[in-house]
């Protein structure tokens, strides 16, 4: 197909996304990467039955950790596509690159502190009024 995807996307091959541990994703971020996504087979199509389902849960777990420490959980993502979907692969690579570009460099490299507000605070760092919080 000779399709081009952004050159900033580095591919790490694993036998199945079920091999992707939460620690791999964290280590990738720790090494200074701005974002990392897992591209697995479509749900229900896993050759190892539940590998991609496990991967999705681990991605969710890492997202929660990032949320808790004040890093945007959007820096990790899970996508599902089949091996025959070249154009979709390129589309995802572009989409994720754009998303990360809009988030800017990782705070791990800049040391600029939280990039998302604490729970119960607005983006400006002010506490939400109690009533509003309870109404939600």
């Amino acid at each position: 197909m000779r399709m081009e995807y952004p050159s900033n996307v580095k591919i790490i091959r694993v036998p199945c996304t079920g091999k992707v541990d939460a620690l791999y994703l964290l280590k990738a971020l720790e090494s200074g990467l701005d974002g990392v996504y897992v591209a697995g087979c479509k749900e229900g199509d896993c050759h190892y039955l539940k590998g991609n389902i496990r991967a999705r849960k681990r991605v969710g777990y890492v997202k929660q950790i990032l949320q808790d420490i004040g890093i945007s959980p959007e820096r990790v993502a899970m996508y599902n596509l089949s091996a025959a979907e070249g154009p979709r692969f390129v589309e995802i690579a572009r989409e994720f690159t754009e998303k990360i570009r809009s988030l800017g460099p990782s705070p791990i490299r800049t040391g600029k502190g939280r990039e998302i507000p604490r729970p119960g605070e607005t983006a400006a760092g002010e506490k939400k009024p109690e009533g509003e919080h309870q109404a939600a």
Partner: protein
């Protein structure tokens, strides 16, 4: 086994604020089995701590060690060459491990990374349930192998109470009534009349926590 779960990251990070060189100590015992404090969890938590601190521009050095057990002095001793070089030890063992570290290393603060919950087992992958409260005087032979102290929300010895409805406990419709379970089990064992009809006398709680911290001594094993 002893079941625990990780403290909220925010609480852990607050504890670590004054430090920039710590040991993160895991345990290969119970908490490794319940996926809270083993080698893998040490790796994930260490990574999360480093990420959180780097993000704030305040890097932290985290030495990752997982001991065979943290409830035996001989394994706690394995930190003796490194404890002095670090400002604190964050332990993700149960509360026993944290206290053993604190007792052994007088000048190094020992911090808890887990909340220790209960003695129990796994019901399915990712779900753990309480089964024993360590009352020190087991009655399982009288109750069909189901613990009234643990499974009954009120720890009644002669149940059920009026809060039992359709086999569920009044505290929560998802909680089974311990005494309903006991009765059903005794029925299936054909022991209902022999055991359930007997009123159990009040329990001497001195063998439990009411008697203060407990010690078991085996003279035949002492050095």
């Amino acid at each position: 086994m002893i079941i625990g779960h990780r403290k909220p990251l925010e609480e852990i990070l607050k504890m670590l604020e004054p430090f920039d060189k710590i040991i993160l100590a895991g345990c290969k015992g119970c908490v490794a089995v319940c996926n809270a404090g083993g080698e893998k969890e040490v790796g994930i938590l260490a990574s999360a701590i480093r990420l959180a601190r780097k993000k704030d521009g305040k890097d932290i050095e985290v030495k990752e060690i997982t001991l065979e057990r943290q409830c035996d002095p001989e394994y706690i001793d394995q930190l003796q060459n490194v404890a002095g070089d670090h400002q604190a030890v964050l332990s993700i063992a149960c509360g026993v491990g944290v206290q053993y570290l604190a007792e052994r290393y007088k000048s190094t603060p020992a911090l808890p990374g887990l909340n220790t919950d209960f003695m129990g087992g796994s019901r399915e992958q990712g779900v753990w349930v309480e089964r024993c409260q360590g009352c020190g005087n087991c009655v399982l032979h009288l109750t069909g192998g189901i613990c009234p102290i643990t499974r009954c929300s009120k720890s009644l010895l002669n149940g059920p109470c009026g809060g039992s409805s359709k086999g569920k406990c009044e505290i929560n419709p998802d909680v089974e009534c311990g005494w309903q379970l006991i009765i059903d089990r005794l029925k299936s064992l054909g022991l209902l009349e022999a055991l359930y009809e007997q009123i159990m006398p009040y329990k001497d709680w001195l063998t439990s926590r009411d008697g203060g911290p407990r010690t078991i001594t085996r003279e035949d094993m002492r050095e």
